[in-house]
Symmetry: C2
Subunit: 344 residues, 2 copies
């Protein structure tokens, strides 16, 4: 009843040859033409398909790469995924995705998975970099590329954004258009991006010779509600609302827009708004959102490239001491209506 799955042996017997010959046929190795034909005919007839698991056991390769991020639904990670997938696919790798919820424990589990031979390599974008995670990274059983920042000396290839420059671009733009009371709505300070953007904001303000008014700084999550809430709080500032809002990502900015609209304030006339990440949401919102592109797509592409280098290279695929590569992707300010009005 249950159709037995044909193996190389089944075919060998049916075609009256050895299993070695069958294997050769399927690996494009030299075989007599008549043999090849017979084997292929039987394979076709019996519906034979080579078993990739058995092949993996011999070759010690899975032809899979894992991609681990906090939440694959986040547009930033999605942008990376969209770039990574085709690049790896072109080299014959399938993609296994992990949504870790940002839990270092789960991320470490994924790293362990490399030892179990779940995948030949990993692209990971940890949102919280703990010592345990760094340890696991250093011990990874297969090539790993981190999208994000790791402490200097960490023996892992990594592709990072330049939040500092990005924030500076945004601040300069806001100052250029005459804004002076700039509010800042950020995500959690115990995350890498949150901490980075906070520092960058403060440095940037200092550079511009502007003091930071803590009453104009709000910290929450990287979520829309945080933007709405943060904007509400900053609008209630005793000296009146700020004339610009720098938001640590686009979702926060959208939330801020909601609040501003509800408060009857005009964007950008009364308050200019800048987001970060330049996700597809920025182009859709109304007014369209000026945003700092931190190059998610490019970071994804570069990460895939770095990983492929290691994967293609000879076995010593882990970065030899000091050979870890760091790529930094330059940010770019995408100016839209939320700061300049003008175009729709």
């Amino acid at each position: 009843m249950a159709k037995p799955v044909p193996t190389i042996t089944t075919i060998a017997e049916a075609a009256g040859v050895s299993i070695a010959s069958v294997s050769r046929v399927f690996n494009g190795q030299p075989v007599r033409d008549s043999t090849r034909r017979r084997v292929l005919a039987e394979a076709e007839r019996l519906g034979y398909v080579p078993n990739a698991v058995a092949r993996s056991l011999k070759s010690n390769r899975t032809d899979q790469v894992a991609f681990a991020v906090e939440d694959i639904g986040n547009p930033v990670y999605l942008a990376m995924l969209r770039e990574i997938q085709p690049v790896l696919r072109a080299d014959g790798f399938r993609l296994v995705v992990h949504s870790t919820g940002g839990d270092p424990g789960e991320e470490i589990e994924v790293l362990r998975g490399l030892g179990r031979r779940h995948a030949d390599g990993l692209v990971i974008s940890p949102i919280r970099v703990t010592p345990d995670l760094l340890g696991a990274l250093a011990q990874a059983a297969a090539p790993v590329v981190v999208i994000g920042s790791v402490p200097p000396g960490t023996p892992v290839d990594n592709v990072r954004a330049d939040s500092r420059t990005g924030v500076r671009l945004a601040l300069r733009h806001l100052l250029d258009i005459g804004r002076r009371r700039i509010g800042f709505v950020n995500g959690p300070l115990d995350t890498v991006p949150g901490e980075r953007r906070d520092a960058a904001f403060r440095d940037g303000m200092a550079e511009a010779g502007r003091p930071v008014d803590e009453g104009l700084v709000h910290v929450g999550g990287f979520r829309r509600e945080t933007g709405a809430e943060g904007a509400r709080r900053l609008l209630a500032h005793p000296h009146g609302p700020p004339d610009a809002l720098l938001c640590a990502n686009d979702l926060i900015a959208l939330g801020a827009l909601d609040t501003l609209r509800a408060a009857g304030l005009r964007v950008p006339d009364d308050v200019a708004v800048v987001g970060m990440d330049d996700t597809e949401l920025a182009a859709v919102s109304w007014p369209t959102l000026t945003s700092v592109c931190l190059g998610s797509a490019e970071r994804g592409r570069r990460a895939a490239g770095l990983l492929l280098d290691r994967l293609r290279g000879a076995p010593p695929a882990a970065p030899a001491a000091g050979s870890a590569r760091t790529v930094t992707v330059a940010p770019r300010l995408v100016v839209r209506a939320s700061t300049t009005g003008g175009d729709q």
Copy 2:
């Protein structure tokens, strides 16, 4: 130099026991306590991790499930993915994603992958259902769940949306708010959703006793540009612009909003707009977009559930003749500002 990867044999020797005992320890089978301790100690010391590939070869399971869609970046598929992933994960399955570009050839390749034992099961959402694809579905070497519609009798579990009812809900809503000249901007008619929505539009209009004016029907891609372009064309209708636009998905609707805005028409006062799929974009756009929720998230969840049933069941996991299950997810109209103005 190259740290040799320890195997069960390495540990057995180090601990002075047989490989069988090591295996038992790692599978929670009865072993003397002292033995267990010794094995675990050596495993820890040598950094032993069980090889999942070897395990798969024996067990004939990969603990992986594949998810194949046209473009994983499409919010609709993404919504499915977000639901599917945790459900499968809870049962210990990893997720392999495939973006097929809607090419039936690639989809068939993924189906073949099941025979190669790349995955234990598959959730697939084909956008074009060709005879070849149906053939491959019927022959799949492992359980498959289709998200979408398949011809009656196809021996595959499937979870479908109800476009017909969805379109009807939208039409009724537009008629309810007094619209009479309803335009329709659709995606390609050679895709399942495109064809379905076209038929539903015509039926719905007929039901409502309204003739279909072909000058108010536009067909393009499921893209924003199609919406912009379609709206432009319909606005130029000799009898003047329509007073409502039904768009076959949210992207199209956003494109239409662009055009309407550029033309100085008010939404919804001059033209009401309805999208479909109720993606996150609908809530972000301005005005926020009334949209027909076709239950992407729920379809994903249900599909994962159906697949798990088969995966957990005894080997005869393919639907026995006639036992294929079909689940239909009810649509729901989500009313927002693009038809009623009012709220924000």
